[in-house]
């Protein structure tokens, strides 16, 4: 029997788990500690309360995937501008260069209010731990021109559980993200 797929979000399984040494799924939630946003305010787990988040990792000098990702995320943020509990979180992977003023300038250029899109920074170690929570990582390329980082964003529900990963450089994935976001909103 055939069934179609990739067209609906009847069910979005929880993806924020690691398979532990005993082979069990060990579920966890996304938490924040030690992060600061583009306004210089601390960003903590409390800021996620009742929010549905779209999270990614980037850096402002990125010559490769970040600019088209940013364009796509701006478009999604505009489309969901009326959904007050939808928030975007962009973690810089280059905290040494991406100071708070740099993040502020970068954030303002998106035209999206800071309440809607948080650009946050922490130490490299904390950011790596956060990336692991989001099931990704990053590392500088050997020639120093770029970082290995992902073009996927994570969708996090109101209970701080990951419900999906989406490659925002692919049109169909952006549509899937919007569908899934609406599913969680409803």
């Amino acid at each position: 029997m055939f069934f179609s797929c990739n067209t609906s979000s009847e069910k979005l399984p929880i993806l924020s788990y690691k398979i532990d040494a005993s082979g069990q799924k060990d579920y966890y939630t996304i938490t924040y500690e030690g992060f600061t946003n583009q306004l210089g305010d601390s960003f903590t787990t409390e800021d996620l309360q009742d929010k549905i988040c779209i999270a990614n990792f980037f850096f402002t000098r990125c010559p490769s995937i970040c600019p088209p990702m940013r364009t796509e995320l701006i478009s999604i943020a505009e489309e969901f501008s009326e959904a007050k509990n939808v928030m975007f979180i962009s973690h810089t992977i280059d905290p040494k260069h991406d100071s708070i003023p740099v993040l502020k300038t970068y954030a303002e250029a998106t035209g999206i209010p800071a309440s809607k899109w948080q650009f946050i920074s922490a130490s490299e170690e904390q950011t790596k731990q956060q990336a692991a929570s989001y099931m990704t990582n990053f590392k500088p390329n050997e020639d120093g021109s770029d970082f290995y980082h992902s073009s996927f964003v994570a969708l996090v529900d109101q209970k701080q559980q990951i419900r999906g990963f989406y490659n925002v450089l692919i049109k169909e994935d952006v549509e899937r993200l919007k569908t899934d976001l609406k599913f969680i909103l409803n």
Partner: protein, 380 residues
């Protein structure tokens, strides 16, 4: 006032069309195909929808229509890319065991010649894949290609009892590109059909990991397209310097897609660093990607001075294209050792009177002991 606005608007449109036209005409064939495909799909001139069906043992993806309106050599033809899940409503562990790609008519039923398949690549979203298993050190370690099917090797399955474990809702990336070495004349439409076979989880299955190894040749980055000279008789000419270009530890430029001149040639490349072997393990499957005019691609153990496998390419006699490319598949496998050196040896024979292009890759599947230990304790 209105007529002035109209006049300047028309002038602007004419200028834009001229500039755009000049820009388009200067694009290489590959980039023209990208522009045209976006145009055809964006305006709905041809079918831009994907048809995806899955069941408990396979997923079938039929692409949007690809318009073949020109000669498209390897890596040049219209292509489409999308991510997909085997079943996004479930989170069950399954084992990928077989891969197939075909060219179809736009009625999605009639099969066409596989001469219209350049390659079909399947990639992982490595973060999601490895993080679940707490194998974070593998994220970003190498390009996350699971496998590739290409002209001459359009289907294969892993040896019995072996597979690649994925969860049904994991993101996989499909990129499939068309090819047309021979047919000139009126444009025609095709689609690609890609089928992945999978099995339910079983503790008896053994996991494979994919490693991509490929021939890269050094080129002069200052004058990349200048032909061989007396001082540099073996210099490689890259097809282009943007894609498939790499730097080695010494900062030298290398290309994985290069020009071959008429006649026979042999290319060697040490792939030890691409294999990245940390422990001894067994190799159970090899899928080879070659371009027309390749004759053989051998995987050699340099340390033991032995040939482990020779992939043989059969070229058509009456047209350009690969009729078949042999692949390796073995339950017993061949041992590979971390302290051995390995190389690829490519034999080519360009039987035409003009330059052609070449790539030579092997998608090598090794027994994944680290993953096997995780899977043995996995409790669905």
């Amino acid at each position: 006032m209105k007529s002035k606005i109209l006049k300047y608007t028309l002038l602007f449109i004419v200028l834009l069309t001229i500039v755009g036209g000049i820009y388009y005409l200067k694009l290489p064939n590959r980039h023209k195909a990208i522009v045209k495909t976006k145009f055809y799909h964006g305006l709905g001139i041809v079918d831009e929808r994907w048809n995806i069906q899955s069941n408990d043992s396979s997923i079938r993806l039929i692409t949007p229509t690809l318009v073949i309106d020109n000669i498209y050599k390897s890596m040049e033809g219209p292509k489409v890319v999308r991510s997909f899940q085997l079943n996004d409503t479930k989170n069950e562990l399954v084992w990928l065991t077989s891969f197939e790609t075909k060219a179809l008519s736009t009625n999605e039923v009639d099969q066409l010649s596989n001469d219209y398949i350049c390659h079909t690549n399947i990639d992982l979203y490595e973060g999601e894949h490895y993080s679940r298993w707490q194998l974070d050190h593998r994220i970003g370690e190498q390009y996350p290609r699971l496998t590739s099917l290409s002209n001459g090797i359009e289907r294969y399955q892993f040896p019995e009892g072996f597979g690649f474990p994925v969860f049904t809702n994991e993101n996989l990336l499909l990129a499939t590109q068309s090819l047309n070495h021979n047919i000139k004349g009126d444009p025609f439409d095709i689609k690609h059909e890609v089928i992945l076979g999978f099995k339910p989880h079983s503790k008896q299955m053994k996991p494979l990991m994919s490693k991509t190894v490929f021939v890269m040749l050094p080129y002069d980055s200052e004058t990349p397209f200048q032909g061989p000279t007396d001082n540099s008789p073996n210099m490689c000419l890259p097809v282009e310097t943007k894609n498939h270009s790499y730097k080695n530890d010494k900062g030298e430029s290398l290309s994985g897609h290069w020009v071959i001149f008429p006649g026979k040639n042999t290319y060697r490349y040490d792939i030890t660093h691409q294999l990245q072997l940390k422990d001894s393990t067994t190799m159970h499957h090899i899928a080879t990607h070659l371009h027309p005019f390749a004759e053989t691609l051998a995987l050699r153990d340099k340390t033991a001075d032995s040939t482990l496998f020779v992939s043989k390419a059969e070229n058509y006699a009456d047209k350009i294209g690969l009729k078949s490319v042999s692949y390796f598949s073995s339950i017993e496998g061949i041992m590979l050792y971390p302290d051995h050196k390995y190389e690829l040896v490519l034999e080519t024979n360009n039987t035409t009177k003009i330059d052609q292009d070449m790539m030579a890759s092997m998608f090598v599947f090794l027994y994944d002991k680290e993953m096997d230990e995780k899977l043995k304790s996995y409790q669905p």
